[in-house]
């Protein structure tokens, strides 16, 4: 079953003719993702790979192709506008790969999308991968395989590391979800965990967290009270010093809160086994 995206997803790529957009659209097409349209203002009428029609607007793209999911590969300064545009065009699920989006922009975007019941994944994320069905983002397809492990993470390449380890141990994935490394973002751990709990294909869950904020602590509470499926975790940043942004805008220990230690404590108290390093994760399910 999987969550959020599958072979029936009709994907619109915003920024399809840009450097990132074009490269990743080719990869998504190669994975047999159902990419039905692209948007680059001014390039309406063109085609990508002779397969995907390009439109000037998201509205025209949706009207013509029935796209029901959008992925955004535009630079940070254009990303909020792209999210508003897709939401207004009636797209119910938006995945924003772009990094460096200002926090105050994201506060407004998230509120706007919430008011219209539009779900957002990201920004600053690798997107979604339902192995064998849909690659909506930049998670390498060849490291994953279909299975019953749901995965949710704030990281990019650390996620790939864990997916590869699971696959190598014969543990395929239902859907891999990268929620991104920013402090103000779309769907969070609890939202995704609830979806995995309700998904018949998912039998167990891997959660990858990092320093900053208290989303992992809130997730721990949710796991303890609302989940029956087994969850294991890894939290990155045990060696991170306080007060320093560790790459991701959201990865910062501030005012005494957001440390890896606190998150690990909260998760273990909720019955979640926490790995000492990423490659240990598959063994934690034994």
């Amino acid at each position: 079953m999987s969550i959020l995206v599958n072979k029936d997803t009709r994907l619109l790529v915003q920024g399809i003719t840009g450097r990132e957009g074009l490269f990743h659209t080719k990869q998504m097409l190669a994975y047999k993702t159902n990419v039905v349209a692209g948007v680059t203002p001014g390039k309406g009428g063109e085609w990508v790979e002779d397969k995907v029609p390009v439109f000037d607007t998201a509205k025209a793209a949706v009207e013509s192709t029935g796209a029901n999911c959008a992925i955004i590969y535009v630079p940070a300064k254009f990303a909020p506008d792209a999210m508003y545009e897709s939401a207004d065009a009636g797209i119910p699920l938006i995945v924003c790969i772009s990094d460096w989006v200002p926090a105050q922009d994201m506060m407004k975007v998230r509120q706007y999308l919430d008011q219209r019941n539009v779900k957002l994944i990201g920004p600053n994320c690798p997107g979604l991968l339902t192995p064998g069905e849909a690659k909506v983002g930049i998670i390498p397809g060849h490291i994953a395989k279909p299975g019953n492990v749901g995965l949710v993470s704030r990281s990019g390449t650390l996620t790939y590391e864990v997916v590869a380890a699971l696959t190598a141990n014969g543990m395929g994935q239902s859907t891999c979800v990268g929620i991104g490394g920013d402090p103000i973002k779309g769907l969070n751990y609890i939202d995704i965990l609830a979806m995995f709990e309700a998904d018949p294909q998912t039998e167990k869950v891997v959660m990858i967290g990092e320093i900053g904020g208290n989303d992992e602590e809130k997730a721990a509470e949710f796991i303890a009270t609302k989940m029956t499926k087994k969850v294991v975790a890894f939290i990155a940043g045990q060696t991170a010093p306080p007060g320093k942004r560790m790459g991701h805008a959201g990865a910062i220990i501030e005012g005494g809160s957001g440390s890896a230690e606190d998150k690990i404590k909260a998760l273990e108290a909720a019955g979640v086994r926490v790995a000492k390093h990423p490659e240990e994760i598959p063994s934690l399910f034994n």
């Binding site: 506060m107 990019g156 890894f234 990155a236 991170a240």
Partner: protein, 377 residues
Amino acid sequence: MKLHEYQSKHLFAQHGVPIPKGRVATSAQEARDICIELGGRAVIKSQVLVGGRGKAGGIKLAKSPQEAEDLAAQILAMNIKGLPVRKVLVDEAADIKKEIYLGITNDRAARRPVIICSAEGGVEIEEVAKVNPDAIIRQHIDPIMGLRDYEIRNIALSVNLPREHWKAFGQILGGLYQTYVDTDATLAEINPLVINGAGQLVALDGKIVLDDNALFRHPDLAEMRDPDEEAPQEIEARKYGLSYVNLGGEIGCLVNGAGLAMGTMDIVKHFGGSPANFLDIGGGAGADKVAAALKIIMSEPKLKAILINIFGGITRCDEVAKGIITAMKEVGVSVPMVVRLVGTNEEEGRRILADANLITAASLAEAAQKAVAAARN
């Protein structure tokens, strides 16, 4: 990015917030001159990007121009929590009747700006939060609608601000909020906002932290960056679009991806080593970026080994390999280097590195263990 008190106050003043008369001095003589301008009495305030300046002796009242000169000389020679004092703000001294804390920050859990106000101003707000949490008022603001007048009145009422001060308070809170929005701040704070003997409200201190993600649209603010805030390697790293944090240990780390970079540091520690740094080369880094990253790591004083961990999706292992070879030629790598390349073009990457004097590893755990062992020898 943090701004100094004098920079923050200047921005507040531009938005209609009353601040004390005064200006910045870089010498004791200048401080004396400003003190004379201000009528012979002034507060000498060190300008460094850390909290606790007062406790460290970096904020002093001068009751004469001579005292201003002496205190400024003292303070300008200080090093507060590792930062040299290069400037002092010489401000008119205030007759303080009441101190209020007023700040706006991003509440990430609520995904909204939050205004924090307390009638217990002038002290560490975190202390008040612990000891007397009811004394702190929090008001979330609708990010699309912005701050509304009735919300300002609510806050004034919640801190029992006397009616005669509401208008001035409204102007100040409105100005503070506008500053926060106009500069794309993650924090804009006045602590303390005082009511003085003449019944006026004045911002005695100011602090602004800017959202790094938004600096691209504030080139004028980006120019205000204090180079003392960061280690030289961090400044160098930013030039190349690298994320770098100094940790002072022995094993340098070069990784693609922030989460993986943190995970790599953690696993080095797990196997008994001490990471020298956090370094994320980002996605799709070319050979010259990798070479620059290696050179920065090579400048770490305690370096005993280097661990390169690449899991390439959009990043190509052959590009990383080329960067390693370039750096080895240009700088000369004098410590053992463990390289683990997985992902896009990994075969080509390994081929390029085959003749170089490197230790290879297949898994992350293996790479970390080898790096720790290499650092010990």
